[in-house]
Symmetry: C2
Subunit: 218 residues, 2 copies
């Protein structure tokens, strides 16, 4: 493939929207999910995020980056006020509705109603899950870290509730999120389904890699 070279000066000279598209594409494929929250006066909010990041397994921590823009402020305030939120994987049948949650609706409008997704309350968890989502996580807020270099905020939460399709849990703990129809995204607005290549064995020096077979958890 014939390559184009772009340096810092070229990046600085780009028109703002072009730079946003370009730089956003460079990080590779991203997780994309819906964050469900509820405000102190019981208004629900639903927002799409492509910055969810696995942080560690013990304790089970997951991080999320907030930019200082208005639509994200409702979600952040609800998380800080209530201490709880949900992360819901997006599948092929709902990604257009999920994308529509990024429109700048007024604070008193629930994105659930506006885009046609269903809030679901389960086992006394106070934040709403998305009923149409196949993998749903209940998260307890733990810590907020200010990233001063560009005024973003990292919110760290602990996974305290997990709902996954029974037939997607493998016996070694791996969840086959492709089988659960979870999709991925790239850049600001590009959505992609996946096609599994392989699961590879734990790598050791001088040892040939093998495929890990998918055995469903009994």
């Amino acid at each position: 493939m014939k390559k184009k070279y772009i340096n810092s000066e070229d990046i600085a000279l780009l028109e703002k929207q072009e730079r946003v598209h370009l730089i956003n594409s460079l990080g590779g494929f991203k997780s994309v999910s819906l964050i469900g929250t509820k405000s102190n006066d019981n208004s629900t909010n639903l927002a799409i995020f492509s910055s969810v990041l696995h942080l560690g397994a013990s304790p089970a921590l997951i991080a999320l980056i907030f930019r200082p823009s208005p639509p994200e402020r409702d979600t952040l305030r609800n998380i800080l006020d209530s201490g709880y939120y949900t992360i819901n994987h997006i599948n092929e049948s709902m990604y257009k509705k999920a994308h529509q949650t990024s429109a700048r609706y007024d604070s008193d409008i629930s994105e659930f109603d506006a885009v046609g997704l269903t809030p679901e309350y389960k086992k006394n968890f106070q934040a709403p899950f998305v009923k149409e989502s196949h993998i749903q996580l209940g998260i307890q807020f733990k810590e907020k870290i200010d990233i001063t270099i560009n005024n973003t905020i990292m919110v760290i939460g602990e996974i305290v509730a997990i709902y996954i399709p029974k037939n997607c849990l493998n016996e070694d703990g791996f969840i086959d999120i492709e089988k659960a129809n979870t999709i991925t995204c790239s850049g600001l607005d590009s959505y992609h389904a996946t096609r599994k290549l392989d699961r590879l064995s734990y790598a050791k020096p001088g040892k040939e890699l093998t495929s890990i077979s998918s055995l469903n958890k009994k």
Copy 2:
């Protein structure tokens, strides 16, 4: 899909490796790339990471999470010592070699040689790119943030050099990373190619979403 419910107590009771697989799967699909570095005594190092995260476009910042485990220590030390590193997208033709870099080779062994990938030096950038990679980024170290809650470290860098296939750059700045054969991963060891669903227009309240056509940059 019939769902299984897992709560905090269930998670705590899982055997360690099972918990690692389970929690790692929950964040959704992840970017997966190779980080190339060079030590002060000119040894090269190459390591696979699935924690690369777009942080912002102005300035063009990209983040990376380090766990406190030994194989990652070489990469972190080289970044802090030299101030530069490369991020190289992984494609279908090289993902097994990329996975093999996660084996615990001794510090004096270059993973480039061990797994059969080719270091490439370009335009006086001091860290090695991966020649087999179609999207290559040169990064200048900016800041290190200690995440004390689980002893991980976030390293933030600025994108100062970009090499992308000419035919993958769209006229609005979007890079078609699927066309560049970039793959994604889930969990610790599962690799996936992608199938584009659509690019969706900027969402506004009450406005129908449309597809964004892919026009190559002239």
